[in-house]
């Protein structure tokens, strides 16, 4: 059995992609989820539904549409190319955009339900103590929604790590640039290099498992929840 001499690049790109995507998703998902939990607007239901939609399409198909949109003649890619000279498709940035869109529901949904179960009392209380809404959000709501954030991060990160349909399509599987670990494993299976695929899969699983155990252990140490 020959141990595959893998270069670490796909792993690194995957982690970078998942990390960046999760950060963006948290930044983006938080206000969306908060708005959904707060608003009484009739649009709420519409936005709520739209957020879940990316999930419904097969990843490759979603990737295909993203490819069109982000490509040099697409709605988004066109203007970007005109402005910056470079296209979004087949770039790391494009991958990030695509992953963000695709993993959006995994972040917005848990946050939304966390915010909803917090209710309006903590916000009221914080405001009555002189905290602005923004201040109260970060000092009270966010910590109370910790469990929701944990779910959001785990689902968002793991899903971005594992996803490859969208990434393959939009990123183009370019080594050192958009080739992520999931594609790497996929490719190995595809060309019948099962041993390498097994090793890579096992590595990814063990690595992810360890990270998750650490994350959950830390979470467990921090108490919360009250009557």
């Amino acid at each position: 059995m020959d141990i595959p001499l893998m270069d670490a690049e796909p792993i690194w790109i995957s982690l970078k992609l998942a990390g960046v995507t999760v950060v963006i998703l948290l930044v983006l998902g938080t206000p969306i989820a908060w708005w959904l939990a707060q608003t009484r607007s009739h649009y709420r239901v519409v936005i709520e539904s739209l957020v879940a939609l990316p999930l419904v399409l097969p990843p490759t198909v979603l990737g295909f549409y993203l490819l069109i949109i982000l490509g040099p003649h697409g709605w988004v890619g066109g203007p970007v190319k005109a402005l910056t000279g470079s296209t979004l498709s087949f770039s790391f940035l494009g991958l990030v955009l695509a992953s963000t869109l695709y993993s959006l529901p995994f972040v917005v949904q848990p946050l939304h339900s966390a915010f909803e179960s917090i209710g309006k009392v903590p916000m009221e209380t914080a405001q009555s103590l002189g905290a602005s809404r923004l201040d109260a959000f970060f000092s009270v709501i966010t910590p109370l929604a910790r469990r929701g954030y944990l779910t959001a991060i785990v689902l968002g990160f793991a899903h971005t790590l594992g996803e490859f349909g969208v990434v393959l399509m939009v990123g183009g599987n370019i080594p050192g640039k958009t080739k992520v670990i999931s594609i790497e494993i996929y490719d190995r299976v595809e060309v019948l290099e099962y041993t390498q695929a097994h090793i890579l899969s096992a590595g990814l699983l063990i690595f992810s498992f360890l990270i998750l155990v650490i994350v959950y252990s830390i979470n467990r140490k921090l108490p919360m929840q009250v009557t």
Partner: protein
Amino acid sequence: MDLLEAKFKIDYPGFNLDVEMRIPSKGVSVVFGPSGSGKTTLLRCLSGLEKPSLGYLKIDGHVWQDEESFIPVQDRKIGLVFQESRLFPHLNIKKNLLYGYQRTFPDERKLQFDEVAQVLNLENLLQRRPEKLSGGERQRVAIGRALLTSPKLLLMDEPLASLDMQLKTEIIPFIKKIEKEFNTPIVYVTHSMNEVLQLVDTMVILKAGKVENIGPVQEVFSDVRLREAIGDEQLGAVLETLVTEHDESFGLTKLDFMGQVLHVPRQHIPVGHSLRVHIHSKDVILSTLSPAGATSVLNVLRAKVKKVGELKPKGYSVDIELDAGRPILATITRKSLSKLNLQPGQPIYAHIKAIKMMHELEGL
């Protein structure tokens, strides 16, 4: 200028708040009324947490809220003690207490953490989480948290409801001190007559969302119309008196009430301090004769008959409104009434059988 003017209108299905009130923006005003009469809702309006369809609030000449303007909660510099303690579950007690404190400009901080923690007996709990506190402990943290914001207006919704006597007698003077020292007006909801008599200057009586009566505590307690609202037992008089002498041999304290003398059991209050006494109308016996030596143990006040209440068909008793410089209400039997043949303006002696509750008004 020292005035709090408010007007709020809220429509819930099944309940309408329609309040208009002008009360002094100093001292303690108590909002009193049966369960569900809208006390909490009124406090929420005052705090800005509730944005009523029609609202107006002006304090000391500053408009906090009218049709056009609305100062949001966080900028009102209020201290709000909710009916439930509402502690932040993710913060320990110390951090809960400091939450508002840290959001107050240092030069606006009037109270210090250590003092508050000590008075509220929270010193041993600072590192604990709210979930590990008893009900009363939680309530005290909530009080401390609100106080530490050094508010311009303090709104308290039954803050002492689940505390024992001992703690109450420690905390009430502290609240009074805050009111006096820092000139912080307090709007206070309570069902406890005890707290009312110890704290209150102005009473706002709510009933089914409407103001039934507003007035200084001394007047309200002798207002027959408030029989139901205040409770049959409680009506009579609240008199502000001055401690003039202690009689060690008889174990008595002499009080001066507008030039007349009252005797109460020995109080541990220095001469010159003022004492608020509460007399129930049923403990007032009327007599047209001046007191004879024999009954000198009883307290007697000279007064004038102001109004004779109506006889209820089946009632045993009738209310007599007196004026002894301050209003006093007496409840006597039909028989006594027919004997005495009372007329408005007629001078009369009010024998006070018992002084129910006494509360010092100024510090030890």
